[in-house]
Structure formats: C-alpha cells, structure tokens
C-alpha cells in the first residue's frame, strides 16, 4: 500500500499519532509519563468508554447511533445495586438483572427504529431521558455497601492491570475478530453502505438493526456493572455525557456518520487517543477547561484532514 492510502486508513494514522504522542510525552515528562502506575490508571480510565465504544462502532458502521448508552450505564449499575442493597439479592442474579434490563432497552430502541421507523437520533434521545429517569428512581442519591463478591469484579488485579482493563481487552479482541471474520457482522458494512441494496441482497436488515441496538445496549450494561463495581457505588449521574464522548472516540477511530466505515480497533484507538490527550493535560497541569476545547479541535482536525486527503486523492 502506498503511504497516501495508509494515511487514509484511520487505524494506521491514529496508531502512528498515538506512538508519536507517547514518544514526545516521554521526553517532556520522563518521570511522570512512562510509568506503570500512569499507564495502568490511563487504561483503567478508558476501559469503560471503550467497552461502550465497541457497540457504538457497530452501530455507526451500519449507519446509526445510540444516544442512550450513557443512561444505560447508570441504569444497569443502578438496578444491580438496588436489588443487592434493598432486597439482598445474590450478586450474580443482580448482575443478570442489570444486563437483561439493558438488553431490553436495546431491543425497544431497535424495534422502534427498525420496524416502526422512528429516526435513531429521536428514538435514542428520548430513551436517553427515560432511562436516566429510571436510573434516578433506582439509585436516588447513590447506593453503597455492596457485597464483596460484587466489588471484586471491578477492583481485582491481574498482572498489574485492573480487571476492567482485561474485560476491555477481551471485548475488543472478540468483536474485532467477529466483525472481521464472520458473515453476520460483516453485513453491517453492507447495511451502512446501502440499506436498500443490502435488503435486495437477501440481508434481513430489520433484524440485523435490532441486534445491533441490543448488542450496543448490552455492552453499555456490562460497562455500567463494571463501573459501579469499580467505584463501589451506583450513582444516578454516572455515564453522563458518555454517549458524546464515545461517539467522538468512534469517529476519531475512523467511523463515518453516514455508515459503511470503521473498524473495532479504531474504537479502541480513538478512546486511547482521547485518554492520552487528557493525560497530557493533567500531567502538564493545564486547566481542565482546556480539555474539551482541545478534544473538539482534535476531532475537527482529524475529520478535516481526511476530507482533504480524499479530495487530494481524487485530483
């Protein structure tokens, strides 16, 4: 492949940018940046976002997105916490309840979008509010004092890395394999590229869309359980603004709002890139206000650069 084509492959260009960023930071902050603690913390911070981003990437590949994932994160942790704290339910059943609740929300989203024909933006925007309300009802001012078994899920360590990081790595590898190699997941590229042609190629577009929303909501549910386990508390406000952060990461990772493009690794790299910038600002003692401004600029530059390259290629 030529360099120009390589540059158009976002997974490549993002990985290169991350590498360069790491090298620069190692030189500027040799005592603070390249340490095991810093990296372990950095990966822990991005693990929740990345798990949600994997589901969002699949939705964006098929030309849709889900704004309710942030609320689902709060809801699933809240439901599990509510059952364990107020009703002394076994932690496994509580987790399953949180996950099934999320799955159901995803199904309702998918059904109303694919079968009833509601626009994904409107449907998931509405669901975002509804589910946030449910989360508030469940966890109110916050629930604490979870059983040890539940806490263990998110706070244990393996080879120096926290459990959520391992879950993230597993989910990214699993879905990367599935999306690259199975006929089922590859169909999302067809649906995102040309829905009508996908149907006329014999693809069950409606069912596939419902499956994508169920999957995305379930991953958000898993993220919610992990988050409340890690924090040792279920908060009604957790996951606020997460949906936009995740969409930003996925777009940075090479997805297009019109569908048909994107790779699962792109979602991970997008989230990693954002976490690195964040890390840089913290170590460099830059005011937190700058973080949002810089991320906004980075997104515009990345997408703008892409457009410029495409135009250059066509000439």
């Amino acid at each position: 492949m030529q360099l120009k084509e390589r540059l158009q492959d976002r997974v490549f260009s993002l990985a290169a940018s991350i590498l360069i960023l790491c090298i620069i930071m190692t030189f500027i902050f040799p005592t603070q940046f390249p340490t095991v603690e810093n990296f372990s913390q950095l990966l822990l911070n991005l693990s929740i976002d990345t798990i949600v981003a994997v589901g969002m990437m699949i939705l964006l590949i098929s030309g849709m997105f889900d704004l309710s994932v942030g609320s689902i994160v709060a809801f699933s942790g809240g439901l599990a916490g509510y059952l364990m704290y107020y009703h002394d339910v076994n932690f496994i059943i509580a987790i399953l309840a949180g996950l099934s609740g999320s799955l159901l929300i995803g199904f309702v989203n998918g059904w109303l979008i694919a079968i009833a024909g509601i626009n994904p933006m409107i449907q998931t925007l509405a669901m975002m509010g509804i589910v946030r309300g449910l989360a508030l009802m469940l966890s109110g001012a916050g629930i604490q004092n979870f059983p040890y078994n539940f806490i263990y899920i998110g706070q244990s360590k393996l080879f120096g890395l926290q459990a959520p990081v391992w879950y993230m790595i597993f989910i990214v590898l699993l879905f990367s394999f599935l999306v690259n190699r199975t006929v089922f997941f590859r169909r999302y590229y067809f649906i995102g590229g040309n829905e009508r042609a996908a149907k006329l190629s014999g693809i069950q577009v409606e069912k596939m869309k419902i499956a994508a929303f169920v999957l995305s909501a379930s991953l958000a549910g898993i993220a919610g359980i992990l988050l409340s386990s890690r924090l040792g508390a279920a908060l009604a406000t957790s996951g606020r603004g997460l949906e936009l952060r995740v969409i930003t990461a996925v777009i940075l990772g090479g997805a297009s709002l019109s569908g048909g493009f994107g790779k699962i690794f792109g979602a991970l790299l997008g989230a990693l890139f954002m976490a690195l910038i964040n890390n840089l600002l913290i170590i460099g003692r830059v005011s937190g206000y700058w973080q949002e401004i810089i991320l906004g600029l980075v997104l515009i530059v990345a997408v703008g650069l892409d457009q410029w390259l495409i135009r250059k290629m066509e000439k």
Partner: protein
C-alpha cells in the same frame, strides 16, 4: 460560439483529455459520443468550470475566457442537465426550477405569485401543461422529474445547453416531447450539446456528431452517417454480434398464475428453462413492481407463484435467493451496489450462508469471476466507486451468478452503459441461458428486447396486454401494445 482549442487535462498521471479541439455553434445540436471513460464527462466538467484545463484555450464568442466555477459558466449562459438528479423532493416544482433567480418582493421575501406564474409559463412552453407548478417534486414520476430537470436548465435562458443522457429514464413518447423542445430551442438559436449512448436517438436529433475515444478527439461527422460506422469510430473495431440463437428447453421453470400486488394485477405467464422472456412497457406499467414481488421484496396479494411445480410464498428477498431466484435492480447505484466496498466484498454481499468470512478465498473466487466476466480492474480490492458503469453492472451480474441461481430477473441491464460493455452483457446473458438458467428481462430499449428475447410480454396499465413470439415481435407492434393499442 464556444470553441475549445487543444484542451488537455491530467488526473494523477492519467491523461483524461489530450489535445481536444471542438467547436460548438449557435442553433446546432451537436451530439457527443464515446464509450465510458472516453472523456465526455471531463470535457463537460471543464465547460462548466468544475475542472480547469491543464493546457489549451477556451473561446466564448471569439473571446478567450477562463471558466473558474459553475457560477461563471451560468453567467456566461451555459446550462447543463446532469444524469444525476439535482432536485429537492420536498419543494414545489416552481421552487426547484428557480433555486437562485427566485423573484422577490421589495423586502426580500419570495414573491410566490410571480414565481408560480413564471413556472407555469415555462411548463406550458415545454408542453407540460398537465403539471401544476405548486406540485411537490416528490409526487412526480422519474420521467417527470427528468423533464423538470430540463425545465430548470432552460429557465436560465442559456445560449448553450448541455444534456447528459437526458432520455435514460424517459419513455418513447416523453423522448418525443423532449426532442420537440430541443428543436424549438435550436430554432431560437440556442446551441445544444447532446450526450447519449443511444445511437438511434443521436442520429434522429443531432445535426453533427463528434466522437471521443480514450480522451482524444476522433472525428466530427454528419449525423446521417450509418450507425455501424459511428460505433466503429467509438470502439475502434467492429463489434462481433452475438448470434441470434435460442437455448430454450421444454421444461417449465416458473409459472405465475394471476398474481397481483401493489402496482400490477392479473399477471400470468410461464418461463421455460433456458428461456429469455422479455418484458416491454412504459415506465410505471408495472414491470418493476411485478419483478420486485417475484423476488419477495414486496408481497403479492393474490395469485400463485410456482417454481418447478411447487408453490412459493416469498416474504423476503433472502427466501427468493434460497429458491434460486435473483434480481438485478434497475437503479444500480441506489439499489444494487455498495460503492464504498471492494469488488470482492460486493460479490460476497449476497452470501446467505452464515459462518466465517475468509477474505483470501473471497478474493480468489472474485478473481476468477472477474476473468470470466471480463471485469477490467487492477485488483479485486478496488472500490466499486472507481469502476465504470459497465464494469459495475458486470460485478452485479457476477455477484448473482456466484449464487448459482436458476432464475435471473434483470431490470434495465444496460441502462447508461457504453456499447462494448453492452455487447459483453448480452453475451453473458446468452451464456447463462446456455447453462440452463432462465431470464426475465425488463428493458425499455426495444432493439435490446428484440435481440435477446425468445418471447416478449408487453405490459400496459399494470397488466400483460400480450405476449409476442420472436416471429411476431416488431418494434412497431410492441410500441403499439405498450401504449394500449391492441393491434390484432
């Protein structure tokens, strides 16, 4: 009026145009033809100011000019009707015709009364008296939209009008109306550049014909030149015609009894093994609607479909594919292709078998299919967007043939495709019937239907009005039946 002198244009090493010199004069309909990739589109883009020539001079009324953008071209009086639509569905006909030169009252608000009056006047001039300027564009048929597209171009009162494949979605009678309009404009002294693949039309409407090949100017000839000669100039060789032969076997593959659905009714016919059954008719006569139902895209509300003697109940295209029925839709870009994906991914888009996808095997199979279908490409990983219309159509055919179908429904298979690709597609269709596959061929090009079909069913007002054998079928008879004149 417009003189292009020694125009050259390069795209990253590829010579799109080389030293092309062409003169377009007032009151003359100048046809431009050439295969896809001959440089017609690039030339038009240069005239419209979308691309700048790398070499050469453009003279407008003897003055050298530089056309920097589309606005400049419009100001000079050059107007174009593209193949692709530029209309906004949710706005009225009048607003679509005057998107920029909208009449306004003093404070800058749109003067709708004047706007509608102007539009009505223009529609009347064009003989589209049955349309109200207040109608929303989304309510129009494809052909009517095309006419509005032309109206929009004429509304700018151009002195040079360019039409790119204007009749691709028009029926016979609408084409006649268009030709009348063009002759009218010509008499008013408007220069017209007419681009088309349809040889018979070129000869009918144009005064002179210029041929481009591989970015070079070949010749400007009189429109009375025999078609064979023009084709030879375009292709650079004589086309070997497929022999009129038949591969029909006496075995009923598909039997349709009295089916009806949205847009068609009382349809009955039998399709034999190895047969090509043509479907003629006007736009909206129900051919495409029927085809979609046979493919399970829309449900039938009555009647029976039997394949090999067994009744089929189709709820989704995947079930039709399972039963060996496949469908090549009419609108390649909107309904058939995944332009952002590679050739091999496109070919495997219809793979119904679940399981793992192996890119290496897919590429291998695709490479073989590309050879068999003579799809011209450097690599099977090439994106469909970058292929010519003819090659795209061949990819679609290859995709469905890889499914080993028994019945192939093709809708306008050569729509907007250059002549040599057309010829190749004809050969492929014939080759498929020799393999024992049956074909339903929907086409608006009568010569194509007559050439390929073993029998031709003619549809009119949602029904089959007659089925003609190869011996009975003539252009006149089909045209008469299609417009509802039952000539017994």
């Amino acid at each position: 009026m417009l003189r292009l002198n020694n125009i050259s244009k390069y795209f990253t090493g590829v010579k799109a145009l080389q030293n092309v010199t062409l003169h377009f004069e007032k009151g003359i309909i100048h046809a431009l033809c050439g295969e896809n990739g001959a440089g017609k589109s690039t030339l038009m883009n240069i005239i419209m100011g979308i691309h700048q020539p790398d070499e050469g001079i453009i003279l407008w009324n003897e003055q050298p000019v530089e056309i920097r953008n589309v606005q400049t071209a419009h100001q000079m009086g050059i107007s174009i009707v593209y193949q692709e639509r530029s209309l906004v569905d949710s706005l009225s006909i009048a607003e679509n015709i005057y998107p920029v030169q909208t009449p306004v009252v003093k404070v800058g608000l749109i003067d709708f009364q004047l706007l509608f009056r102007q539009a009505q006047q223009l529609l009347n001039e064009l003989g589209l008296t049955n349309l109200s300027p207040m109608t929303l564009v989304k309510k129009l048929s494809t052909a009517q939209k095309q006419m509005i597209e032309i109206a929009k171009a004429i509304a700018k009162t151009p002195s040079l009008l360019i039409l790119d494949e204007p009749t691709a979605s028009l029926t016979h009678s609408e084409t006649e109306i268009l030709f009348r309009i063009l002759k009218n404009l010509k008499e008013k002294g408007v220069g017209i550049i007419y681009i088309s693949h349809r040889m018979s039309e070129l000869q009918k409407i144009s005064d002179i014909i210029s041929v481009l090949k591989d970015g070079k100017f070949v010749a400007t000839i009189d429109s009375k030149t025999p078609a064979q000669e023009i084709v030879r100039l375009m292709v650079g060789r004589d086309l070997e015609s497929v022999k009129k032969s038949t591969n029909v076997q006496m075995e009923i593959k598909l039997e349709v009894e009295n089916i009806q659905g949205k847009g068609f009714r009382n349809i009955s016919f039998k399709l034999l093994k190895g047969e090509i059954l043509g479907f003629a008719g006007l736009q909206g006569s129900g051919r495409s609607a029927m085809a979609r139902s046979l493919f399970g895209d829309e449900k039938i509300t009555g009647g029976k479909i039997l394949k090999d003697g067994k009744v089929l109940h189709l709820n989704h295209p995947s079930e039709a594919i399972d039963h060996g029925i496949v469908y090549l839709p009419e609108d390649r870009k909107a309904e058939g292709l995944f332009l952002h994906l590679s050739i091999s991914e496109n070919i495997f888009s219809a793979q119904l078998k679940k399981g793992f996808y192996n890119a290496a095997i897919a590429d291998d199979v695709t490479l073989k299919l590309c050879k068999l279908f003579s799809i011209r490409t450097t690599t099977v990983r090439q994106h469909l967007r970058k292929l010519s219309g003819g090659n795209q159509q061949k990819v679609m055919l290859a995709k469905w043939l890889a499914q080993e179908p028994e019945i192939i429904i093709v809708n306008e298979p050569t729509h907007g495709i250059d002549i040599s690709s057309k010829e190749e597609i004809y050969q492929l269709l014939k080759y498929m019937t020799a393999e024992g596959k049956s074909i339903l061929l929907i086409s608006s090009e009568l010569p194509e239907l007559l050439f390929l079909s073993d029998r031709i069913a003619v549809m009119h007002e949602k029904e089959i009005i007659g089925i003609l054998s190869r011996e009975e079928a003539t252009e006149e008879r089909i045209a008469a039946l299609a417009s509802g004149i039952n000539a017994h």
